[in-house]
Symmetry: C2
Subunit: 319 residues, 2 copies
Amino acid sequence: MDRLKEMREKVNRAIKEFLHEEKPPRLYEAVRYLPLAGGKRLRPIMALLACQAVGGEQTLALPYGAALEIIHTFTLAHDDIMDRDEQRRGMPATHVKFGEATAILAGDTLFAKAFEIVAGARLPAEVVARLVHSMALMSKEICEGQQMDMCFEELEEVDEAAFLAMIEKKTARLFEHACLGGALIGGGSREQQATLGDYGRWVGMAFQLWDDCLDVVGKDIGKPIGSDVREGKKTLIYIYAREHSDHTGWIPYHGKHDASPAEIQQVLQAFAASGAIDHATQKARGYAERARKALAPLPESESKRLLMDLADFAVSRGT
Amino acid sequence: MDRLKEMREKVNRAIKEFLHEEKPPRLYEAVRYLPLAGGKRLRPIMALLACQAVGGEQTLALPYGAALEIIHTFTLAHDDIMDRDEQRRGMPATHVKFGEATAILAGDTLFAKAFEIVAGARLPAEVVARLVHSMALMSKEICEGQQMDMCFEELEEVDEAAFLAMIEKKTARLFEHACLGGALIGGGSREQQATLGDYGRWVGMAFQLWDDCLDVVGKDIGKPIGSDVREGKKTLIYIYAREHSDHTGWIPYHGKHDASPAEIQQVLQAFAASGAIDHATQKARGYAERARKALAPLPESESKRLLMDLADFAVSRGT
């Protein structure tokens, strides 16, 4: 894990250097707020490892990895406005801290910066053009996923397939492109790019499903247990529990913003009793397993081992 | 003007084709709303003309021109949220029509689309990489300009130099990059790119200053006379009038949202009496003249003549 820590620090330094602009001060204070607030940096780390796993020099993928992390934080800043979330990474959300107008603008600026960084990277022009195309398609899908997520909030019933399609776009695609782009930068073959893209996508799915599980067991996520329940989020756990339990008892408390701790507990107990938590956990572990298996064609290396470890980490953190 | 109309229709078709996505329907309805609502398409037309003026085939610049128009509409959709403007192009603003969350997301999607279009265009990879870099830097400056504009709203006094620096970023830079990028695509030399970039920047300045003048004479802008006055916009006319009049009489009505028609008239009369409208008009015409002069090094051609005409149009529309 020392290797990962070292990479995280390298990524942090790169992000800080890329976001060096000063004027207007109010804008750039907001621009730096979330990206410099820490985070696991999983996406850029995966880009670096994917680059190395196909024989490339890790550092070549640093601008691309940093750009993806910046896109990630831009989507968080905008999502928090849309979802009316007031906390992020244990701090006030960007729009709470800087006002909504500047938060919208800071997100837009971060999005522009991501393309500036990649277009300005010392990479062959063909690689730049492909990375930009892939970042653009991915960003569009993240928006589509967020819109699907918002539409789900208004529906009484959402089925599992629709839910999985949503998180694939909203969360998994960014992991996929981190790995695929890293492999492209590292000079990997088309097959290796696809292999690493598959790995990234499955890790992303595992990661998101595990995140939803952590909400109901209340660990490692910087917000109180049952936050998703209180906000009425249509997670896989909710969807499964709704289909597999007599839901008349707990449904009224799901999405009840002023629910009492006892009411939240009643929902969480219904989730457990219906087998929904086990189902989501198994599903998350299944994706992590697919991710590990996807890596089989790659030659053994330290990077490959670290990618394997990250797939495990996706479904073990917080336990 | 038939040639310009023909080009506008070509641009309209291209934008419509590029924005073909269907799902989720709510998102893409919002995505198409502003871009397909018409508009003069000056920026893409200038990109096409700049391409042709250096000897390139006009159509080569169509994806880039469409992408810039899409970036322009994305900034309008987000600005309307930030500025709490409820009308745009004589219709409800995007956030009024679709809700704020979807309007933010539609803007983000348009921004992503712009990069997708350029990265997917049939152009040499070196050209794509340079266009993307230039689009990213330009978008960042548009955000900076919008933040400066928002900060100005909170200040009692803004000076002319700061105001001009703001509109250069917020408005002129997009015209500049339309022309510069068009020249790059058309195979123009570095000098020709710079020449056309200068032309575009000055036209953009002229265009914005003239727009502010039209607000106080009330023509051709799809909103009632004195809208900027009612909203308290710190235009060049306001800035000049504030410096060159006894402003105790009219200042209280500037930015008074429920000002009576008589109160608005009082502000407009003070603007005229102080010489502010003449000053802004002269300034706009001066920029248009600089734009025309910038074109001098280019060989004579129909495109060059049309670019000259557009510089005139920037400071004559609505009269």
